[in-house]
């Protein structure tokens, strides 16, 4: 089992990092030929950075759009962010004091994350419009994330596992050593689902995470009269004038 999980996590990490890097390369390589910021838009680069910051940190557009989705979505994402930060303790020795400081918050964030996910999933059944647009993979994605959250919370509050051994396992992986993983069904389940999430990340709608930074309606400066915007392929057409 130790070897299986070790190989699984090596593979998942390669797919996640390589896959997302490739997507980012693709998004960056394809030009935006026209100025299409959704106006009113910032007229300076600093303004665009601030708009993107509000969008990524506070989900500003979603807030304007639908308070229910915003509240549930934000709860989930902030919960997830804290939980991820909390988990950094499994990968660092000594543990950074910030990470040590947020440990208790990260614990409650696990509940926030699960609650947000449950709410988002409920919408897929209860709201007719959302039910219409949901695909099986949308449900599976939520099931996967909720499964990860619940098994994690389960190990924290119901059936503990040997976290010291888990840490030794992951610290070992980082220097290509395979240390024993506690034989704990909850832990196996938790880790398997995390690895699966890492693998599907670059192949699925989870790409909204890097995608938002490349969205021309949000990342473009509104200055088309002052500065000429020209994509390379459009510039070639220009030379024919």
């Amino acid at each position: 089992m130790n070897l299986v999980f070790a190989l699984l996590f090596y593979a998942a990490t390669i797919i996640l990092v390589g896959g997302v890097a490739y997507r980012i390369y693709e998004y960056a390589r394809v030009p935006a030929p026209l100025k299409i910021p959704t106006t009113p838009a910032p007229t300076t680069t600093g303004g665009v950075a601030f708009r993107m910051f509000r969008e990524v940190v506070f989900f500003e557009s979603l807030f304007k759009s639908n308070l229910w989705i915003w509240a549930l979505g934000w709860l989930f994402h902030v919960g997830l962010a804290l939980v991820l930060l909390r988990h950094l303790r499994y990968f660092t020795e000594p543990v950074n004091f910030v990470i040590a400081f947020i440990q208790p918050f990260g614990m409650y964030a696990g509940f926030a994350m699960a609650a947000g996910l449950a709410g988002l999933w409920a919408r897929r059944f209860l709201v007719e419009r959302i039910r219409y647009i949901s695909t099986p993979s949308d449900h599976l994605m939520l099931a996967l994330l909720l499964g990860i959250a619940l098994t994690g919370l389960g190990m924290k509050f119901l059936m503990h596992t040997d976290v010291v051994a888990v840490k030794a396992f992951f610290l070992g992986l980082m220097v290509f050593e395979i240390n024993p993983l506690p034989a704990h069904p909850g832990l196996y389940l938790h880790l398997a689902m995390v690895a699966l999430l890492m693998i599907v990340f670059p192949l699925s709608k989870l790409l909204h995470a890097p995608g938002v930074f490349f969205s021309p309606t949000r990342n473009q400066v509104d200055n088309p009269r002052e500065t000429r915007h020209l994509a390379p392929w459009a510039a070639q057409l220009d030379s024919k004038n």
């Binding site: 394809v30 935006a32 106006t39 979505g73 099986p136 993979s137 709608k205 969205s215 949000r218 020209l230």
Partner: protein, 534 residues
């Protein structure tokens, strides 16, 4: 720009004239949906608009603008290949195909969904028509597990759905305001139309019009002599009404300003009243100006079909006209999508602005007055003159009107006026307040960047889609009803030729007079004080 029937502001029309087309088969009568007491989200009515059938372009219309005449042999592969090409040339499409998480934020934001209840008019569902095909051909999960991720082959049924529902999107971008990733359905719709054109499956209305622009110079197909006649007629009318010899020059060499305006302004009501207004503004300010018979159309339907080449070709006419006439400044009249193309795209497409480096663009840059932004909106011109104290108004002349303002989608969400984001909302309102005493805004959920499309934009302003247009106008009509009931609003000003034509047609369906809609410069025209000595 206007639909075939030129609407005339006639006596009160209690019953709308049935929009019967002799050739069309008998259809159920078109009725407006009931006003909602509260703006509740409609229950889904699957396939409610599946019967909406835009006319497929005839071979001559397609071929005239460089597309195959009819659906080509092996169109499936060609369409997929074209999609691949677009994914490699448009970052918007590339990112938007991946980024949607089906959160549902956009589902209740589209006026066509609100008016029809058809779930495929929810922006996310409209995008999914293409995204499902994208997944099938361009993603691993879609190739391996199509059912699981909602991927499907591009079949004739799918193509028909595309044609039906991408011709139920007015590319107004309201959904993109509310999307957490800024996904713009207009970009997807444009890509879908581009793909359909490439395989010979275009929309008749739009393609016919693009053909007319190239052949004759404007969307309505008005030849130069007809324009000249019309403009002379306007000069006579204005002289009679005001005693001022306001000129409406055509192709006048050496004029300071080239005005490019939608061709509907030359003939259609109420459009022409704004054209009269532009002329009065230039006259009162003592600015020499001219219209151009070559660039007698500000509209650029190339945008509606997402075709860069067409958009560039149509825009290039304006640059050529500006060079030939030797003008110092280019000004665009009241037209929503035209202003988006002019403001956001002209500099890219033709170098009207700053920074282009081909010989003609450089020549143009030398010729144009660097003190003015290129291009300028007529509202920017008028507002600058008002601020400079160069225009005088008799505001009481508009006292019979209680005015509200409809933000046109392309101006609101795709462009700007003035020096700050949001100037496109303030400047037209400032002008209205400067020329009229009574002004009321509609509900803030329906104005500024949250404005609702009139229901006729994006190349849908055609009689065969009247049912869709009437239904799509519902949210705007509700907001108008509210201010009409509460404040007695009797005039809805707007700065878009399509809005004007669309509202003239659909207002009666909602129990309003068609003469309720008009241009901002129509109000200017009513109140402006002209120097009769000239």
């Amino acid at each position: 720009m206007a639909d075939e029937t030129t609407p005339v502001a006639a006596a009160p029309a209690p019953k709308p004239a049935p929009a019967a087309k002799p050739a069309a088969p008998a259809k159920p009568k078109i009725e407006a949906p009931a006003f909602r007491e509260f703006p509740t989200i409609p229950a889904l009515q699957p396939d409610a608009m599946a019967g909406s059938n835009p006319f497929v372009a005839a071979a001559n219309h397609n071929e005239a603008i460089g597309f195959p005449g009819t659906l080509v042999e092996g169109w499936e592969q060609k369409a997929v290949a074209k999609m691949g090409e677009l994914l490699g040339t448009y970052r918007s499409l590339r990112v938007y195909m991946d980024a949607c998480v089906h959160c549902g934020a956009c589902t209740d934001k589209c006026h066509y969904f609100i008016g029809t209840g058809d779930p495929k008019n929810m922006p996310v569902a409209r995008q999914e028509l293409m995204r499902s095909v994208y997944r099938r051909y361009f993603t691993l999960p879609g190739k391996l597990f199509p059912k699981l991720v909602g991927a499907r082959d591009l079949t004739k049924d799918v193509l028909d759905d595309w044609f039906r529902y991408y011709n139920q999107c007015s590319e107004c971008r309201r959904c993109s305001v509310f999307c957490p990733y800024g996904i713009d359905t207009a970009e997807v719709t444009m890509a879908a139309k581009e793909i359909m054109h490439t395989v010979g499956h275009g929309h008749k209305y739009v393609n016919e019009i693009i053909g007319k622009v190239h052949k004759i110079g404007n969307n309505l197909g008005l030849p130069g002599p007809a324009l000249e006649d019309t403009l002379l007629g306007l000069e006579e009318d204005v002289l009679e009404d005001t005693g001022a010899a306001v000129k409406y020059p055509l192709d006048m060499q050496g004029a300071e300003v080239l005005l490019v305006t939608p061709s509907a302004d030359f003939f259609a009501e109420p459009h022409v009243d704004s054209l009269i207004g532009y002329g009065k503004v230039f006259h009162a300010a003592g600015i020499s100006w001219t219209l151009s018979s070559k660039a007698s159309e500000a509209g650029n339907f190339g945008m509606f079909i997402g075709n860069y080449d067409q958009m560039k070709k149509i825009a290039m006419r304006v640059r050529e006209a500006a060079l030939e006439l030797g003008v110092k400044r280019i000004v665009v009249g009241e037209c929503g999508h035209a202003w988006r193309v002019a403001y956001a795209f002209w500099n890219t497409l033709t170098g009207v602005g700053a920074g282009a480096n081909d010989p003609f663009a450089i020549q143009l840059q030398k010729q144009l007055d660097p003190n003015y932004k290129q291009p300028s909106h007529i509202c920017e011109v008028t507002w600058d003159l008002i601020q400079a104290g160069r225009l005088k108004f008799d505001k009481e002349a508009n006292d019979h009107r209680i005015v509200t303002f409809h933000d046109s989608c392309n101006v609101a969400r795709g462009s700007r006026m003035g020096d700050y984001g949001g100037g496109q909302f303030d400047i037209p309102r400032n002008i209205i307040r400067a020329v009229a005493n009574k002004y009321v805004d509609m509900s803030e959920a329906t104005t500024r960047e949250k404005t609702f499309c009139c229901g006729g934009g994006g190349g849908l302003l055609t009689d065969e889609l009247l049912d869709l247009r009437v239904k799509g106008a519902l949210p705007r009509m509700e907001a108008l009803k509210q201010v009409a009931d509460q404040h007695g609003v009797n005039f809805m000003a707007t700065i878009c030729a399509i809005c004007k034509a669309q509202f003239t047609k659909v207002l009666p369906y909602y129990g309003f007079k068609m003469s309720m809609v008009g241009g901002v410069h129509q109000l200017v025209s009513t109140a402006i004080v002209l120097n009769n000595e000239q």
